[in-house]
C-alpha cells in the first residue's frame, strides 16, 4: 500500500493540509497537485493552512508549496510548523479582540456590509440587508435583516442587538431563521439580546446585567 503523503481535512477553521513526516517532499508535492486537480474548482479562492507536523520543511519547499497554491488560485496559505497543541486561551472570555468596523447608519434593503473583523452598527439593519463579519456583530438598533457572525468558522462569535428580530441569523456554520408566519403583530417591548452557539445550535438569550 502506498503511504499517503498528504491528508486534507476540513475543519471549522477552514481547510488544513497535513504533510506526512517521512514521505519524500517530491511525492508530497505531486500528491497535492493531483488532489488540487481532481477537486476542480473546489479550492479556488480558498485559504488553507499547511500543517507539517514533526516534519521540518526548508524555505525552498515552502516556496514550492506556495507556488503550487498560487497555480490553483488559492487565496491564502498559512504554515503550521509545530504539532498543534490544545489551544488554551489565556484571555478572558468576555474580551473580544481584533479590528472592528463601526458603521453609523441604517442598513437598508439591498445594502450589504462585510468585514474581516467585528462589526458594530449604530442604527437599524432592515429586512433585505446583510451584515457579514469574521468576528462578532453588535447592532445598536433593530436587527431585522440577515446577519452572519464568525463567517470564517469562528463558533465563538456572537451577535448582539437591542432588538434581535433577524430574518436569518448565522454563526459560523450554524443557521437559524425567524419563525414563519404573519409578522404584522403587536410588538412586545424588545429587550437587548445576544445569539451564540451552545452545544452546536444557535441560542438566543437576554444580556444579563
Amino acid at each position: 500500500m502506498i503511504r499517503q503523503g498528504v491528508l486534507i481535512r476540513g475543519t471549522n477553521e477552514g481547510i488544513t493540509v497535513y504533510l506526512h513526516e517521512e514521505c519524500e517532499f517530491v511525492v508530497i508535492l505531486s500528491e497535492l497537485r493531483d488532489k488540487f486537480t481532481n477537486a476542480h474548482d473546489f479550492f479556488r479562492g480558498a485559504s488553507i493552512s499547511i500543517n507539517s507536523g514533526e516534519r521540518s520543511i526548508t524555505p525552498e519547499e515552502k516556496m514550492a508549496l506556495i507556488d503550487l497554491c498560487q497555480d490553483y488560485e488559492l487565496s491564502g496559505v498559512e504554515f503550521v510548523t509545530r504539532p498543534e497543541v490544545q489551544n488554551v486561551s489565556q484571555k478572558d472570555p468576555w474580551i473580544t479582540e481584533g479590528e472592528t468596523l463601526i458603521l453609523k447608519k441604517t442598513l437598508r434593503s439591498g445594502q450589504r456590509v462585510t468585514y474581516k473583523g467585528n462589526i458594530i452598527i449604530i442604527g437599524d439593519v432592515n429586512p433585505g440587508a446583510q451584515v457579514i463579519a469574521v468576528g462578532d456583530v453588535a447592532v445598536m438598533g433593530n436587527l431585522r435583516g440577515v446577519v452572519h457572525a464568525g463567517a470564517q468558522g469562528n463558533t465563538d462569535a456572537e451577535v448582539f442587538a437591542l432588538a434581535l428580530q433577524p430574518t436569518q441569523l448565522r454563526i459560523a456554520h450554524c443557521i437559524a431563521r425567524s419563525p414563519d408566519g404573519f409578522s404584522v403583530k403587536k410588538k412586545r417591548r424588545m429587550e437587548p439580546e445576544k445569539a451564540s452557539i451552545k452545544e452546536g445550535i444557535i441560542v438566543i438569550e437576554g444580556i444579563e446585567d
Binding site: T106, P127, R144, V184
Partner: protein
C-alpha cells in the same frame, strides 16, 4: 425662476406613483403654482391617460431629447387646471432612449420655467429609475401598507442616498383604517419605524380613485373625496406649509399620528 424638481418613486409597481403624480401636480397647480409633470416611464406611459390627455400627444420626451422638436412643443397644457403641463413619455421606445445626463438637462431647462417639476418614475431600479432621479432635488416615495411595498421603499431610500437624495419623504397610500385596527394591515408606526424617514402624507383607500383614474380626472378635483383631500394636504406640505394629517379615524389615531409627525 428656480423651480424644484421632485421625483415620485416607489420601487414596487402598482402602489400609486402615477396617481400620486397626477394628483399632487394638479393640487400644486390649483394652489397657483406653475407645474409640469414628466412621465419618465418610457414605453409604458400612463400619466397622460390618468390626466385624460392621451389624445393631445404629438411630441414626447424622446422627441425632445433627440431634438426632433422644441421642448415647448412637447408640453401639453392640462385641459382643466391652469398652470399645469405634461411632458409625456414615448410609448414606442424603451428606457434606454434617454440617459441620465439628458434628463438632468431637461430638468434644468424646465426648472427655469416652472415652480414644480414632478417626475413620475417607473417601477424597478434599472435604467428608467436612474433616468428619473437624475435631475431631482427631492424625492417622494410612495408605499402601501404591505410588507413587500415597504421593503422596496427601503431599498429605494438606500439607492437615493447613494445618488445624494438624502431626505426623501414617504406617502403611505391606500391605507385602510379598519384593517389596521383589526391588526391585518401594517400601521403607520410600523412603517415609519422601518423606513426612518419623514412622513409626507397618508392617503386612505378610496373607490373614487379608481373611477377618477379611469375617467382621466385627478381625484383632487372632487372636493368630496377623502383621497383628494389627502393629496391636497400633501401638496400643501410640499409647499412648506404645516398641515395636520387627515383625520382618518377618531381621536386615538390622531394622537398617534401626531406623535409620528413629531418624531420625523
Amino acid at each position: 425662476m428656480n423651480g424644484k424638481v421632485i421625483v415620485i418613486t416607489s420601487g414596487k409597481g402598482g402602489v400609486g406613483k402615477t396617481t400620486a403624480t397626477a394628483n399632487i401636480g394638479t393640487a400644486l397647480a390649483m394652489d397657483g403654482n406653475k407645474v409640469v409633470l414628466i412621465d419618465a416611464d418610457i414605453g409604458l406611459r400612463n400619466l397622460d391617460v390618468v390626466m385624460g390627455l392621451e389624445n393631445r400627444i404629438v411630441y414626447d420626451i424622446v422627441d425632445v431629447v433627440e431634438e426632433a422638436c422644441r421642448l415647448e412643443q412637447a408640453l401639453i397644457k392640462d385641459k382643466r387646471t391652469k398652470n399645469l403641463h405634461l411632458l409625456p413619455a414615448a410609448q414606442t421606445r424603451d428606457k434606454n432612449a434617454v440617459n441620465p445626463a439628458q434628463m438632468r438637462n431637461l430638468a434644468n431647462e424646465l426648472r427655469k420655467e416652472f415652480d414644480y417639476v414632478l417626475v413620475d418614475c417607473p417601477a424597478g431600479i434599472e435604467q428608467g429609475f436612474k433616468n428619473a432621479i437624475a435631475g431631482a432635488d427631492d424625492a417622494v416615495i410612495i408605499t402601501t401598507p404591505e410588507v413587500s411595498a415597504v421593503r422596496d421603499a427601503d431599498r429605494i431610500i438606500g439607492l437615493l442616498e447613494v445618488e445624494g437624495l438624502k431626505e426623501p419623504r414617504v406617502v403611505v397610500n391606500r391605507i385602510r383604517m379598519e384593517m389596521v385596527r383589526r391588526g391585518d394591515m401594517m400601521d403607520l408606526e410600523d412603517m415609519i419605524e422601518i423606513l426612518a424617514i419623514g412622513l409626507l402624507g397618508v392617503v386612505p383607500e378610496d373607490e373614487d380613485i379608481v373611477v377618477s383614474t379611469n375617467r382621466g380626472e385627478p381625484v383632487v378635483l372632487d372636493p368630496e373625496s377623502r383621497a383628494g383631500m389627502a393629496f391636497h394636504n400633501i401638496a400643501q406640505r410640499i409647499q412648506g406649509k404645516d398641515v395636520p394629517l387627515l383625520n382618518l379615524e377618531k381621536e386615538k389615531l390622531m394622537d398617534r399620528v401626531k406623535r409620528i409627525i413629531g418624531l420625523s
